[in-house]
Symmetry: C2
Subunit: 249 residues, 2 copies
DNA sequence: AAGTGGTCTAGACCACGAA
DNA sequence: TCGTGGTCTAGACCACTTC
């Protein structure tokens, strides 16, 4: 097709060199940014091929990869749809604590402990490079399984990246669950460690000081920058993370 | 190409339906089984295309995916090579403790604690479904960073899946390092938890009983079945696991 | 019945890297 | 220089799903 040059006039910046990668990143950024919300039916392969001035195979290559990555869902006749932002960590499924509790056959409940909607500067932050957090909302809460403390959560939400957070109430809903349904696709970085329960965590989790805890710290970012930081403390030896790896995935 | 049917006469079993997937799995199994060892130059795209009676594009699709999965390394002019079996867990790089220690700028050392070359039945096994281990070699050892106990390792190696283990000595080399270079590609399953140090682990790690430990249990299997089980105990709060996830990987 | 994605072809040109 | 992989094309047929 001769018109290819006309359709992609000049983009010598840091753009990927191959066309199917450019298409892949275009679509990915539209999904990650939220411009194409979950459930949105993206253009058909034939339409995109015409838009990009390329053959359908090239578009197909990009969309197939995004489907394997879990960002798209495709079905014949209906078309291609943006998938709901599922647990990013297929390996460490710890994004939704409610699911985690209910999957174990227990009843989930939740309590807000404290809420500082205008915290200016985080006073606790580990090495996960979170100096980027300035204008934040700071929340502490507890998750229960069958009424027993299951997880103590400390959370920071960036008001820059998530301005809607001002209108949210975390009295009934955990900040994690609210973020999950509000903020588009993002990437997460985890740190997992064992620690002895400190005063505050021990108190809320109702365990003795010094008891072994599994601590997960997670920083999440999307196209707008750092979104949220969370520290989850699981008491004692009752909690396990699972991860499975195979060569081909 | 009309000869396609002749080249793939009858394989109605559980074979993948599409040709590029069949090629992908063929190549993968040859690598995983060790038939194509690391460094082996696999046939050129053109050759495989002729063998399978298909176009080069179809072969390329399969090999591209295997390259992205990390099983192959390709370079123009030279050809396509089987990659060295690197750390399977790109997310949890905990396969090689020596690297882990040295990456932290410390000096690694190692000591064998006990070696039972003919253990008949594991006496300790968690829920990771390891009833498959029968004829085993059982090893306990310690890893040091700058002379300080860094990780206490308990390991079981299946003598069925790894018959060469009989000839191996773990006096100087850790079983993990030996397995890494001996056993072909495999898949791993992890469990991560926090626990209070028990008598034995506390003793060897030189920490007080009840100190919080990060415990990683891993079961590894390959095409021959279960290969090895390992329990790694890291003392105190000095150890952290990192994991990063992005939508597209 | 019609339209979508899934797959495949038989060419092609190019970039890279070893000789 | 020359061979390899990287990419792309302009078709094609099929399977599936919805209508």
């Amino acid at each position: 097709m001769d018109s290819k040059i006309e359709t992609l006039p000049e983009q010598k910046k840091t753009e990927p060199q191959s066309l199917h990668l450019r298409i892949l990143h275009d679509v990915e950024s539209k999904i990650v940014s939220g411009a194409w919300a979950p459930g949105f039916r993206i253009p058909f392969e034939t339409e995109m091929a015409k838009d990009y001035g390329c053959s359908r195979m090239t578009v197909n290559k990009a969309l197939t990869q995004l489907t394997r990555a879990g960002l798209l869902e495709r079905s014949r006749k209906s078309g291609t749809f943006v998938k709901a932002p599922q647990s990013l960590s297929a390996a460490l499924e710890i994004t939704n604590i409610r699911d985690e509790v209910e999957k174990a056959g227990k009843t989930y409940s939740y309590r807000l402990l404290s809420d500082n909607p205008n915290a200016s500067r985080p006073d606790f932050l580990s090495c996960l490079g979170a100096s980027a957090f300035c204008d934040i909302r700071k929340v502490k809460c507890l998750h229960f399984a069958d009424g027993v403390p299951f997880c103590f959560e400390e959370r920071i939400i960036s008001r820059n990246a998530v301005p809607e957070v001002d209108a949210a109430s975390f009295e009934q809903e955990a900040p994690g669950a609210w973020l999950f349904k509000t903020v588009p696709w993002n990437s997460a970085e985890h740190q997992i460690s064992a620690c002895a329960a400190t005063g505050e965590a021990a108190e809320f989790l109702d365990i003795a000081c010094g008891t072994a805890c599994l601590m997960v710290e997670r920083i999440t970012q999307n196209s707008k920058g750092y979104v949220t930081w969370a520290r989850l403390s699981y008491p004692g030896e009752q909690h396990r993370l699972f991860a499975k790896f195979t060569p081909t995935g």
